[in-house]
Subunit: 345 residues, 2 copies
Amino acid sequence: MTQKRVSIKDVAKRADVSIATVSRVVNKTDNVTPQIYERVMDAIKELGYSPNTAARSLVKQRTNAIGIVVNNLHDPFFHDLIKGFEMAAQQTSYSVVFCSALGGDVKSKEAYVKYLSNGVVDAVILYGSYFSDESVVRYLQESRKIEYVMIENDVPGLACNKLLINNYGGAKNAVKYLINKGHTRIAHICGNPNKKVTIERFNGYIAAMQESHLEVMDGFIQYSSTDYKSGFERMNALLDLKEPPTAVFCSDDAIASYAVRAAFDRGLRVPEDISVMGFDNQTILPDRYRGPEITSVEQPLYTIGMDSIRLVSERLKSGQAEEPVIRTYETKIVEKETVCEYRKR
Amino acid sequence: MTQKRVSIKDVAKRADVSIATVSRVVNKTDNVTPQIYERVMDAIKELGYSPNTAARSLVKQRTNAIGIVVNNLHDPFFHDLIKGFEMAAQQTSYSVVFCSALGGDVKSKEAYVKYLSNGVVDAVILYGSYFSDESVVRYLQESRKIEYVMIENDVPGLACNKLLINNYGGAKNAVKYLINKGHTRIAHICGNPNKKVTIERFNGYIAAMQESHLEVMDGFIQYSSTDYKSGFERMNALLDLKEPPTAVFCSDDAIASYAVRAAFDRGLRVPEDISVMGFDNQTILPDRYRGPEITSVEQPLYTIGMDSIRLVSERLKSGQAEEPVIRTYETKIVEKETVCEYRKR
DNA sequence: TATAATCAAGAAAACGTTTACAAAAGGAAT
DNA sequence: ATTCCTTTTGTAAACGTTTTCTTGATTATA
């Protein structure tokens, strides 16, 4: 099928020049006389030559490529983030490649990071909120092979580029928003226990409740499994309580959508009977969802995607060692249809 | 930031052996005595060595990687396809990387294909239905640099691996399905004019109508712009007709969702007042859509994603030149909520 | 016309591997 | 003790580039 590569040597022979000259023509790195330039260009066209990336990378010690590693590329959660990556990729001179580790599989993620680190790309952008992602970023840090930036996962004390999201603050604001709506009986459905954001958002919930001197009733904290579908059962558990909450803050929109379904299945109205709030402002939900639009907390994923590529490409261009960049992005509440004022029934 | 690479030489020096021996240890390609093995392994660990991919690729003339190039990776249309790629990637020993060309930009797509072809991967999987994709696949064919498979885009007479979808047949069946439901006034909203599938599905529509001796009324064929949102105006144009259709076959679900909205906005019921059918069975729509689930035509994208990776990896493993594989996948109608029997009003 | 200065092109080293081949070392058989 | 295998290790070429250094040619300057 595939035939023998045509190399710079073949071109040189054809144009009757040295390989150095061919290289100069290809890279426009040095002057060559017009006739020779022509001759070389003709040979290149005739033979269909294009320079081998591996060889070039080897000698130049850089690849002009950036790698992005995420967990489940197919997850609609990534919609905006990918869009951000794509947009910035288009504007940069670097080639951008995505790698996806299926499930929460650390091994696979680690494998991709190693693969990329060893001369495939100049920088890696790593997205991940799993606790297990810490080991991956540690590898990146310790091997010190390439530039990288970590998105969303703050390993405290690790001096690397980090683009973080204020999940704690976002969750706290969300709960305070509910409190301002007059709610006092506010429950929380936690997310995937293997993710850091779950803890951060949980802490935000607790902090908001405490600051407002509101009691977290027995059973008001519901722990999901790794499957967001468990939002359904968790909501049912809340509604089974003798005195159920009047508002529920969910760790993410996927869970929230299942919580809303659970309420609907019991003949409750959302938000009139119970308010539901999510996180992520995920306009595209993994499963078909037909309920009201979920009031949520938006994180600027599009911006973060753009910024991450810009950050690494600037750092690569500058070349010298700089202080790591650590940036925290704030979230904002997006008011939609699943929260309303508390009204005594 | 990044410090000097540790190479096989460093390991050899540290373990006081030749670089060949280190290579043998790393690749388990040949026997080494246990003591030396230990010594080398220790040195590798101490120095944190891992072999450089570029150098290895250069000498071995293969990279053990497969590249996938698509147009808008963020598009939820790709959900199942990506899942298929991911699943197969997990099972293969190849590293799999995705590249995304934003918009319908051929230049960008071509650039990625060239980049990948020149020693970055061993095979390319190209997805695309744009007419402009033809030039990309032609490049792949003529350069004969690497193994590749084209998904969805049939360039007639080009002897390459093709995984195709029977869009023509799928569309024809869809329209016949509507005819069987008693509809005779059936309109068609075409899709993005730059895509081949648009023509194929259009032809399927025409064929079904002709075979059933049904007339395509004036104005029954509506041409969208490149934006699927134009399904909205196109549907309005249909409904503005003196004698509007009783069923509309849309070139894809995104358009269909906008068609349904347009009908709703006029106070019409779907499917009671007008039936709408889509294509793709896209469970996740690009925009928030809250109407009934769209009766559609499903293409086995998950399977195709899996198969494409399996195909190229098998071909790479076998090594010898084989006949190109051309496979056409059939679609199937998924009955949902936007089509019903025609009933005189 | 000689000399310096500029410029174009080639030769060869280097990048980090793998691998064919050579060499050495160890054992077994004579 | 010598020869002959077998096994382990080392040497060096190769992969396809870029780039430093040299050389040779041309032009400018005196």
